[in-house]
């Protein structure tokens, strides 16, 4: 079974530039999450989707961050414009509705963003 796929794996941009990350969750997983992980810290949730609906985006900095999950499968996270403090690893995860958001989440390898 294929795991969560993310691309790109690495991205280096200059500040004020836009950037986008893509995630393909495990087939059949209705719940999709985006996390940000700063160096030396644990992941922090940015947004959670149930199918195509964003049900928890309270931690998403809405002035510059946006996300979408068209058709309830793939998802894109965008930053525009990027700031130096956005340098981090952006992780996508998914889980099955059968087990619910309470249980195991499956993580992708992440996208390491460096803003210069």
């Amino acid at each position: 079974e294929a795991g969560v796929v993310q691309s790109p794996r690495y991205k280096i941009i200059e500040k004020k530039q836009p950037v986008a990350f893509w995630c393909n969750p495990i087939s059949g997983h209705n719940t999709l999450y985006w996390y940000r992980q700063n160096l030396g810290q644990g992941p922090e949730l940015l947004i959670r989707y149930e199918n195509e609906e964003a049900v928890d985006d309270s931690q998403l900095p809405k002035d510059r961050f946006s996300a979408e999950r068209l058709k309830g499968v793939d998802s894109t996270l965008k930053i525009q414009p990027a700031e130096l403090g956005d340098s981090a690893v952006y992780l996508c995860a998914s889980s099955s509705r059968e087990t619910g958001s309470y249980n195991e989440q499956f993580f992708g390898p992440g996208t390491r963003l460096t803003v210069l």
Binding site: Y33, G40, Q41, G42, P43, E44, L45, R48, V55, D56, S58, L91, A93, G100, S101, Y102, N103, E104, Q105, F106, F107, G108, P109, G110
Partner: protein, 116 residues
């Protein structure tokens, strides 16, 4: 914000020794999960323990949970060099905790080094 606090922040042991990591949290929980992260494979779910459970085993892993002290421990027995990674505890708040949605909140992690 980080809910869990792992202790110690870093741990170095010889191969074959046991490794114990601790986690403390603040709000009442539905369950607590342990994840491992290394540079090659990203975040991987290890084990989940529910609030009504006190101990759980999975292979060389043993997890305990003390809800009265709001703490958990992860024991890795007979460690191997391949166990070298960062270990995170993550909590899902209980429905009546007032902690908001059912998001997974991670600690800062314990960095384990197993020396061959």
């Amino acid at each position: 914000s980080q809910q869990g606090e792992e202790d110690p922040q870093a741990l170095s042991i010889q191969e074959g020794e046991n490794a114990t990591m601790n986690c403390s949290y603040k709000t009442s929980i539905n369950n607590l999960q342990w994840y491992r992260q290394n540079s090659g494979r990203g975040l991987v779910h290890l084990i989940l323990i529910r609030s009504n459970e006190r101990e759980k085993h999975s292979g060389r892993l043993r997890v305990t949970l003390d809800t009265s002290k709001k703490s958990s421990s992860l024991l890795i027995t007979a460690s191997r060099a391949a166990d070298t990674a960062s270990y995170f505890c993550a909590t899902v708040p209980s429905a009546n905790s007032g902690a908001g949605s059912y998001q997974l909140t991670f600690g800062k992690g314990t960095k384990l080094s197993v020396i061959p």
